[in-house]
Amino acid sequence: MSEPVRLLHRFWAFVRRKPLDTELEAELAAHLQLAIDDNMARGLSADEARRMALVSIGGLEQARYKHREARGLMNLDIFMQDLKFTLRTLWKDPSFTIVAVLILALAIGANIAVFSVVNTLLLRPLPFPNAHELVWIAPPPTKCGLSCATYSTDAYDEFRAGSRSYQDVTGYFAFSSADNLSLGLGGAPIPATSIDVIHNFFQVLGVQAQMGRVFNADDARNGAAPVVLLTNAWWKRQFNADSNIVGKAFDMNGRQTTVIGVLPAAFDFGAVFAPGTKVDAITPLNLYGPPRDWGNIITMIGRMKPGITVAQTVDEAARVAPHMCWNNKHPETCGDYKGAVVPVPLKDYISGKVRRSLVVLWSAVGAILLIACVNLSNLLLARGAARSKEFAMRGALGASRVRIVRQLLTESMVLAGGGAVFGLMLAWVLVSWLAHQGAIALPLLSTLHLDGTALLWTLLIAVFAAMAFGLVPGLRMSGGNVYESLKDAGPGATASRKHERIRSVLVVSEVALACMLLVGAGLLLRSFMRVLDVDLGFQPDRAAAIKVDYDDNVPNDKDGSLGAAKRAVIFQQILTRVSALPGVEAAGFTDYLPLGQNRSWGLPFPKGLKPPQGVDGPLVYVITPGYMRAMGTPIRGRDFSWSDGPKGEQVVMINKSYAKYVSGLGAWSDGDALNKPLGNGGGPDLHVVGIVDDVHEETVDGDAGWQIYYPSTQATPSGAEMVVRTTLPPATLATSVLSTLREMNPKQPAAEFKPIQMLVNHAVSGRQFFMLLVLAFATLGLLLAALGIYGVISYTVTRQTQEIGIRMALGATAGLVQRQVLTGTLRLALIGIVIGAGASIVGARLISSLLFETSPWDAITYVSMAVTLLAVAALSGYVPAFRASRINPTVALRAN
């Protein structure tokens, strides 16, 4: 029990050093005086009495030291001494200090920033309570896009009722498109994006409303009054964070809708479920209204009961799936979901796709940190060589090796600490910037922030770095030969050789690391270029799209033909007006744009053949005449025309891939699907009037799947995006297009006129993000390596001044000296490149899954990496080489 008390005392004594020292001095003085008194009482002379007293006390300095050792915290005392000394020496050498701290700050900053991303996406649980209980329930990936990744309301009901593993199962409507909500506050309607969720969505996720309440079952019943939940961001942006908003009603899509609550800022639907998009409002999905007949529309999310494992839910889902029906009214659809109900942890679904990229990114910053450490080691070695006399002197005066290493480690710790502080600032800037990159399609990016874990990580890598770059020079210097170092002539030739070898090894490893980084970055860059070169099946430049509001409701429209006719009139009018605008080349409507949402409607099949089971249908787009021309997609055959009316022959266009599939089935003698009828599961035949290029509908870097296009005069679109091809930059037409739409329909919201290129950019933003980051790190690595080479070579030249002077005095020309120094540099660089390239060849498989149409052993990348590194090495070696050739033999020989 007395020990903790004593520790407390020791801490206290450490702080109160001064008064305690004074008291000790007084005590020792009293001791001496009492001893002198005693001795004099025994008859000694005053001088002799004093001498004897000093002898028996046994050394005052030793007594003080022992007292302090017992009293306070000796280690801390020594540390404070070392710290003071370190700060003083670093202060005296500002250029070294600044360079060292800067290098460390860059490396540590990059590491913290990337760690924060990794932490957010991979390590930290999702921002929901007990997030490990949440599972994403979906089929394995398929060709038919979102329609095959979702479930019908009947299937959802059956799954929810039939499963025992879940506390509850929820879901949301997967087909909401951007700007699907128009808010009327008087004046022009304001476009916003809302998502329909099943009423128990927030209960399952464990999200509470910040104000008001979340949905309950009554909000989603037939005939329920319309209600809405506002996201925190929209509430602040659009409603000025009105604290009395709950209970107020607004005109949303033409209906008075009551705000029942505001969601907390921590809940960001887009960040979790739809990376790179923003969601403004959440509305309840009425499962028992019209959605009943919309087919596959719901994505399912379940919260497992405590103690249930994902494996158990997978087993259970396999048992429940055969009982799920696409539509209970069609018993033949029961069992359609067999094998298509697979729960995975929600976190895996969200961040699983980026795991590999993140690991690569993490390795890249790790390499940067290593390069920085090697660089620092080099700098410290050079500095230590200059200070070898100081250390030899301290050693001669009795400082132990441990004490000197300790002093040097303190120095590294201070440098690493400085680097960590500035690195944290850098990381903070990076992280806050990243968190606001809403356009990057990476999940959870908006929740990015520096947290306690990141601080802990900073501490860890700072200590690691300090050890890594401080230990080698520390041991090297403290182990130096006292005699050699103190000799006026400087270190002997052998010691110098040894020194040089270590430094060469450091440079080689630095070059090798930089080499690996460059290869990685080069491969990613080449992949990205390849992705940009992909033939998308449409021409994104000089085309833009805007969401158009229209009303095709016709009372008592039995088969939808009246609505179709009305829609045709509206669309045709709009297109005629817009096409007449100056600068517009073509215009057309589609309901879904490529690289966005999609759906499928089954598998149209050559007439007369029996459609196979388990083959996913093509993706469906409902378009108007002119759309293909506006997108720049070539057609073989003919475009739809306005005369393809609701009562006429059903026409479709299909893409080349699908055409190839249906043609290859042997139904047609000429093997060409053009102008052939496709059977449509009991509906009227679909006549293929055109075959169009494959459009990349989901990803730029994936394969294009099957697509089918229906005319909006014959099928019902789920919205209208007008695509306009322009001769001028699209942005210049935004105002005239919008005002034309407004003239024709005052309800048209002020929707964004988005360039099609933006959709492409969004689709490749994740890849671009990683590529740019790795490229930036590779550049940083290259810079650090160059700095390292420069430092070592110029140090070598300085040390060899005398030798070079002698050689020049003996007749070596400036050119020869330069060549020799450069050759030495390039030899080191070459060794580094060979090792680095070897390591890259072995390690490249790690990133092969991130590459696109690029071999991990792409020769061009390797060659350009080697050339770049050699050029940089030559450049960083040239400056010292030039300096060496300018050495004046007379001066060089006289010095020393």
Partner: protein, 119 residues
Amino acid sequence: MSPEKLDLLQGTLDLMVLQTLTVLGSLHGYGIARRIEQVSGNEVLLNQGTIYASLVRLEQRGWISSDWGTSDNNRKAKFYTITGAGRKQLAEDARYWERLKGVMERVLTMDDPAEGADA
């Protein structure tokens, strides 16, 4: 250093200080050091200065307390007194030393085992 003097074992000085204070009551550092030297018959190698490390250790553990006062010959000095906790500790340590002493005695007086071993 004179080879015939005994080096102090770890912790023994603290015990001696406690015992001295128990017997003599309140005393200054010099007095404690002298007393230990006298009692040991000058057999112990004691740099008087090291007593202060022992004193601060004991005080931090709460086994002794200190106060400035005046000596018999009117010199100002810091006087140390043993506390209740100190007495308890002393009793414990003394028991420990007794046991150790017994063990050492037995060990050092045992017979040479080699004599009884087989050849």
